[in-house]
């Protein structure tokens, strides 16, 4: 077994960090109207959660968390593929990726 970094900071720090990243992601979603940037903010949020899972996995000594992260990545990849395809299609039809234009769901 190779040498590994053993001296790590307390887990609370990771909690705070991922919370902060998540909030930034949410803020971005609220702030921006460009669909691509919103998509990116969502990726950011997913990553903050991933970070959280990995930290828990590492600190609790349980591999399952990392498997979840793996699956989240898989889903995220699929999601981005479909999401971007949607965007392209929307852009083609509307000439814009501004989400405020997409108000067909108005009741």
């Amino acid at each position: 077994m190779k040498e590994v970094i053993t001296n790590t900071p307390p887990q609370n720090w990771y909690l705070v960090l991922s919370t902060l990243l998540f909030s930034i992601g949410v803020m971005g979603v609220l702030l921006r109207r460009n669909a691509i940037i919103i998509l990116m903010c969502i990726e950011l949020m997913l990553n903050s959660v991933n970070l959280l899972l990995v930290s828990f996995s590492a600190y609790a000594g349980n591999t399952d968390g990392q498997v979840f992260v793996f699956f989240i990545m898989v889903v995220a990849a699929a999601e981005v593929a479909v999401g971007l395809a949607l965007l392209v299609s929307i852009y083609r039809n509307l000439g814009s990726t501004d989400i405020d234009v997409l108000s067909k769901l108005k009741g």
């Binding site: 997409l102 108000s103 009741g107």
Partner: protein
């Protein structure tokens, strides 16, 4: 109750009595086409068979013995089981003989009368069905079986009144008869419920046995008897349920004779005589029965004066006579009432058949104002009709005299009733002779064509007339008044049926011989004076009843039957129809559906309102989502 020895050998014949007409009905209804000519004869012969069997049972049973047995359990639940059984005792024997005997004669008569009708076979099928139900009514050993017959004869009455079903007025009359009877039937049904609940059964033995242990005048008994009397009112056309009977004359004349004069309408009297113990124990009900009878008798007689339709006159006279019988029952003179049922059956059937013969001769004309002088054309009919008229008027020695006299004698201690009944029979004599004179004497008032058509009826019609005329003369001698020092066979025969009542009612008010003779003389004098009055008015002065529109004043009220039909129409029929529409349009469609639709509208409204939340702005959705997340977390934190 005393245990009689069951005459087992009579069970078979007694079962056959009602089954033969039923067989006739089934044959005729299913094979009517094949039995076009033979059918009516088969039907008549089957009824004759029933009659012969009845005579056989009558002769071998006598009045000492009863035949009482259950065939099978019809209804049961828990510990209660209601059986379908047959009872033959003196009372049912009398009715059996009357029903099958007169039934046969009328079947025979109908072969001539209905010959040209296209529903010839169907008519006989219905008649046979009627005989079947009537026999069930009188042969049942429980009120339940009686009720089967009770409703069954109502059905046949419906079918036969509306026999000519293409005529809507006739259909209305039929429907009216059925519904009026149903009102009575509800009373009967509730009466049965009371019996079942308080007296523990419906068969006569149980009911009457348990009732006789009860106190006289017990409220339960009064309730039962009153409710049963409502049933009798419907079936026997008493005030206030009498209006269907005159309308029922829409049916063919033999039907009027058989159902609406001789047999079915007397079912009410049969029922009360059958349950005489109950009635004797409920003096209050007896009082009511009596007053209803008296009122009906007088009321119908008054209406009868101004009727011009030959059958309507007879119908009102039937109502009047039935009232007389109820008055007799109300006075506690059960056997006298029953006696009048028998004599009335003969002479009223005779009168109706005679009227039928007249109508037959006139080619369907029923209005007396267009008749007259028929004596010389249809001599036999006229003579028999005269016998019937004399009998109903109570002239010695015709049948009506004896029975009517007995009732009047029984009423003598109750002076008002006696006076009213005497007036009623006086009026009866008047309008019957009015009818007789207008129809058979003076000059013919019809058209030439009708005059040409006049002819005596075929033998199948005249033979029943002759036979009935014989009975109308002779039947009275079955019950001789005591003043003649002859045995009163009828009372003697029925004695076992009413002996318990006798002891309950105590000593009846027996009039002594001199009073009785006096009563007879008074009654006869009154009748004869009425006849003379009628003679003077309609033969001497040759006055003819005026046309309908010319009547005025009281006469107008009378000839319009006191507007009772119109009253019922306004007070009961119309309001129910209006109520029906109100229920349907207002309550159903407006009120109840309002709640239903309101709940649907609420759902729709909520949807429409909540829809506005969906602004279509994605940013807003996300914002709300974040806020919601925060709120949820905060709630969690606060807790």
């Amino acid at each position: 109750m005393e245990q009689f020895i069951q005459p087992i050998n009579l069970i078979g014949p007694s079962l056959l009595v009602p089954l033969l007409p039923l067989l006739g009905f089934i044959l005729l209804i299913f094979f009517g086409k094949q039995l076009k000519t033979l059918g009516p004869w088969i039907a008549s012969l089957l009824v004759l068979g029933s009659f012969v069997l009845s005579v056989y049972i009558f002769s071998s049973l006598g009045n000492e013995n009863n035949l009482d047995y259950d065939l099978f359990t019809w209804l049961r639940w828990g510990d209660v089981s209601l059986n379908f059984g047959i009872l033959i005792d003196p009372l049912s024997l009398i009715m059996l003989l009357v029903v099958t005997g007169i039934g046969f004669l009328i079947h025979l008569y109908s072969i001539g009368y209905m010959h040209h009708d296209e529903g010839f076979v169907r008519f006989f099928a219905y008649l046979n069905l009627f005989i079947f139900f009537m026999l069930l009514l009188v042969m049942g050993n429980s009120y339940l079986v009686m009720f089967i017959g009770w409703e069954g004869v109502g059905l046949c009455s419906y079918l036969l009144i509306g026999f000519w079903f293409t005529n809507d007025a006739y259909n209305d009359a039929a429907k009216k008869a059925f519904i009026m009877n149903r009102i009575g039937d509800l009373g009967f049904l509730l009466g049965m419920f009371f019996m079942l609940f308080y007296l523990g059964g419906l068969d006569y033995a149980t009911v009457l046995g348990n009732a006789s242990t009860m106190e006289k005048g017990a409220p339960i008994l009064i309730a039962i008897t009153l409710l049963m009397f409502v049933g009798a009112m419907g079936k026997s056309a008493q005030i206030p349920l009498y209006t269907w009977l005159p309308d029922a004359m829409a049916g063919p004349t033999p039907v009027s004779a058989l159902i609406h004069a001789a047999t079915m309408v007397t079912a009410g009297i049969y029922m009360i005589v059958r349950s005489n113990i109950l009635y004797s124990l409920a003096p209050f009900t007896l009082e009511i029965v009596m007053w209803v009878g008296v009122a009906t008798s007088l009321f119908a007689a008054i209406i009868g004066i101004k009727q011009n339709d030959i059958k309507k006159v007879l119908a009102y006279s039937t109502v009047s006579q039935l009232g007389l019988m109820f008055a007799a029952l109300g006075l506690g003179a059960y056997t006298s009432g029953m006696f009048h049922v028998v004599t009335h059956a003969f002479f009223k059937a005779l009168l109706f058949l005679g009227a039928g013969s007249v109508i037959h001769a006139m080619g369907g004309e029923q209005d007396m104002r267009r008749m007259g002088g028929l004596w010389k054309y249809i001599r036999l009919t006229a003579i028999t009709f005269l016998i019937g008229t004399l009998a109903i008027s109570g002239i010695f020695p015709f049948a009506g005299f004896f029975s009517k006299d007995e009732i009047l004698a029984a009423a003598f201690h109750h002076k008002i009733v006696w006076v009213l009944l005497s007036v009623s029979s006086m009026i009866t004599a008047f309008y019957m002779f009015r009818l007789f004179f207008l129809t058979f004497f003076t000059t013919f008032r019809g058209t030439e064509e009708e005059k040409h058509h006049l002819h005596e009826s075929p033998w199948t019609m005249t033979l029943p007339l002759a036979v009935l005329a014989l009975f109308a003369i002779g039947a009275g001698f079955l019950g001789m008044p005591s003043v003649m020092h002859m045995p009163h066979w009828f009372n003697g025969f029925l004695a076992p049926v009413v002996e318990t009542s006798k002891t309950i009612l105590g000593e009846s008010h027996h009039v002594d011989h001199s009073t009785e003779i006096m009563l007879m003389l008074v009654a006869t004098a009154l009748a004869i004076s009425s006849i003379i009055f009628a003679y003077v008015v309609y033969l001497n002065r040759k006055s003819i009843p005026e046309q309908d529109e010319e009547t005025k004043g009281f006469a107008k009220w009378v000839s319009n039957k006191f507007y009772i039909d119109e009253l019922y129409d306004r007070v009961i029929v119309k309001p129910i129809m209006v109520l029906s529409d109100i229920f349907h349009v207002v309550v159903d469609k407006l009120i109840i559906d309002l709640f239903v639709n309101a709940s649907a509208w609420m759902v729709g409204f909520t949807g429409r309102t909540l829809r506005l939340v969906q602004t279509g702005n994605t940013g807003f959705y996300i914002f709300v989502m974040v806020i919601a997340m925060m709120v949820l977390l905060l709630i969690q934190l606060v807790q």
